[in-house]
Symmetry: C2
Subunit: 427 residues, 2 copies
């Protein structure tokens, strides 16, 4: 029997009542609930069980308040309820690509495991309102939590999107773990510059055994946005507040995950989201400057780039290790306006002599690198360090990996890094 994640009182309660994860159960508590018993992924609380209700939302029920629990059907019977919805020919089509992450593992609610796997039927059973917005095709590209994604995975996603650039889809949703979603968003923004359709990376911050899961609303809002917008390009679509009334569409090169767990963890750095999706409206940010450019896919990355956050006491010989390990570029997260201590200068000089690109961002995250204000900045400019404006450090890293793979020499690398290719420089 699967009781995945349940322990203590919760486990005891399920064993006593012969209920396992995936069972469709009827529960008598303050009211009567009918839903599927969900696995638990957290270890903090053994006093609740979690049901997925038929409307797709999860609810946590306190064991102490449950007077009766019984099985309505078992998973194999339930399967018959999960069917492909009738396509509505009046609705546009959306492709939903799954890459893994909490949002995808959540959908796999009938088993105790957390293997990320998503089918159209499961999706529609989970968020039935989706079928009223669009006809959704789905495809599992891979199934990884996003901390395990590598530049190779960015390329797979980009190639899939590239193959859909002239397809019948109005837009594309990419279900993705939130841990490295901003890196993937930046990677797609550079490698698919000018992509002619809107693409929404969607994740969820709360695992599916929590009543506050944000997955359904993020997915619905992404679908609404893709169907209605005339914008194109790469967006991250996630909660804009801790309540459920606003979903933000962040531009792919200006977004950062700034909280480990909040549903509104993602923020547009140094500005507001490009769009806000509300229940009945989609609001466009008037100060957001979109760029129109021809679609020019260049799907290559070279990870011989090191991101270094400068700190007092950082050993400058790290740079020499980087040089001797055949790296081609360094992105510094410097201090303040874009500085590193003078103990680093000699190693930086050696790196520049070897032809490495050295770009400067700020560990402040927000604000602009300005290297002409103080002596330290001017010294670094003289050593050949390139200031990267208000580029987010992670975006600068991804851009450098992309530029390195696509530039024919170090001059072109420098030129690409300074050019505003996908609104990564906003000031």
């Amino acid at each position: 029997m699967s009781h995945s994640g349940y322990r203590g009182k919760g486990l005891e309660f399920l064993e006593k009542n012969k209920i396992e994860v995936g069972n469709l159960v009827k529960v008598q508590a303050d009211s009567t609930y009918s839903g599927i018993l969900m696995p638990r992924y957290e270890h903090s609380d053994d006093g609740h069980i979690v049901l997925k209700l038929k409307n797709g939302y999860n609810i946590g029920l306190e064991i102490e308040k449950i007077s009766k629990i019984e099985i309505e059907s078992n998973p194999s019977v339930k399967k018959e309820n999960i069917s492909h919805p009738q396509a509505d020919p009046s609705l546009p089509k959306i492709l939903l690509i799954s890459t893994g992450g909490t949002i995808a593992s959540r959908i796999d609610y009938r088993t105790g495991g957390v293997t990320p796997a998503l089918t159209a039927a499961e999706l529609n059973a989970s968020v039935p309102e989706l079928s009223k917005i669009a006809n959704i095709d789905t495809e599992v590209l891979f199934s990884e939590y996003s901390e395990n994604l590598l530049p190779e995975h960015w390329m797979k996603i980009a190639e899939k999107l590239n193959s859909c650039s002239r397809s019948e889809y109005k837009g594309i949703i990419i279900a993705h773990g939130t841990d490295t979603m901003q890196y993937t968003a930046a990677a797609l923004s550079f490698s698919l510059q000018g992509y002619p359709k809107p693409v929404a990376l969607v994740g969820s911050q709360r695992s599916s055994d929590r009543p506050s899961s944000d997955a359904a609303l993020n997915l619905l809002s992404a679908a609404k946005f893709l169907v209605k917008t005339d914008a194109s390009g790469i967006f991250v679509v996630m909660h804009n507040s801790t309540s459920d009334d606003e979903i933000a569409c962040h531009w792919g090169t200006r977004v950062r995950k700034n909280h480990t767990s909040k549903r509104n963890a993602f923020q547009t750095v140094g500005g507001s989201p490009a769009f806000i999706v509300r229940k009945d409206s989609i609001e466009r940010n008037p100060s957001f400057g979109f760029i129109q450019k021809p679609f020019n896919p260049r799907i290559n990355f070279n990870n011989k780039v090191m991101l270094i956050k400068y700190y007092p006491g950082l050993d400058p010989t790290l740079i020499d290790h980087i040089i001797s390990s055949d790296y081609k570029a360094i992105i510094f997260e410097g201090t303040g306006l874009g500085h590193v201590g003078r103990t680093m200068y000699e190693s930086i000089e050696r790196a520049k002599r070897k032809g490495l690109f050295i770009g400067m961002t700020s560990q402040c995250i927000d604000g602009i690198v300005r290297m002409t204000v103080y002596d330290s900045g001017r010294d670094l400019l003289n050593l050949g360090v390139t200031p990267l404006g208000n580029m987010i450090p992670e975006t600068a890293l991804v851009k450098a990996m992309w530029a390195l793979a696509n530039a024919k020499d170090s001059n072109e690398m420098e030129k690409i890094m300074k050019e505003n290719i996908a609104l990564e420089i906003s000031d």
Copy 2:
């Protein structure tokens, strides 16, 4: 003649009128101004000159609107105006230690250079209101922009403070560059835990040739706070908003510079400042939990600690370089709740076998590391990685440098890192 920082029209204007930096001048424009011509540190604008008025504030004047400019006196005459104020025996004493940074170079307004050097007389001429709050002794400890500070400098400051722990001073101000102020604040918080007096690190975000300089108000507010508070320990005292009506006192282990240039760049991460200083009041944050503990100075740091921000494509052999370079600890800025990709596992395992301490923080900056939620986190826990709660990555790095110097073995290192020593863990 010194025209430091002036160029183009500005330089031409000064040369024509035979005015140099440091002159006390009378200027006829929309009104009549009397003040000292300040050097300029930025290269963006040649249409203004900047005067320091007698009230200590700076003003930028458009050259086009100046009908007349003449010298009132030269620096050597002016020097007589800069005198030690009469000590007022009814006021408490404050020690002001200068370490350099914009705030200190600003005070050195009579010369064209930006050498950070601060004397009591210069300070009082610059911010005359200070002498109404306290009798201020000053001392130049060193003169460095803070991007050049190293753990050795932290130790110098800590030793100076240690020598003052039983002095007559009500509190101590440390004038410090903002670039690495949060690192120094954390270093003092750990090495001087239980320090019996309030200490305020004060900097300025705007160089002194800008009318919007925040230095004077930050200094005045720090002095007010030190004189009136019954709290002790290490604080960072800087603007709380872009206006001049609120100054924040951030607790030294919970503060981060989150903007490259804004005057309110410093923020208490995951909470509110410990105190807010307003014109007529000092407000204590009721949810801020102070700790009372005996003063226990342990002033040592060992910088064989590497801070690594994880990103997709990070080469795991970096860890092997760290092992072979005799590092003793790694602080990861992991993704999300505290993850790194599984490509890192083998190298992490090797590092643990060699006895390195490996601590996990999050690159999200805000929020708590929770490594029991997902498989990735549990895998890392099994490999011996230590979750560091909501410790700010930079604070965790400084703490690790301190713990390494003060722990007798790796067990004690682990124990110190988990212990809440200076409110570095707030949840």
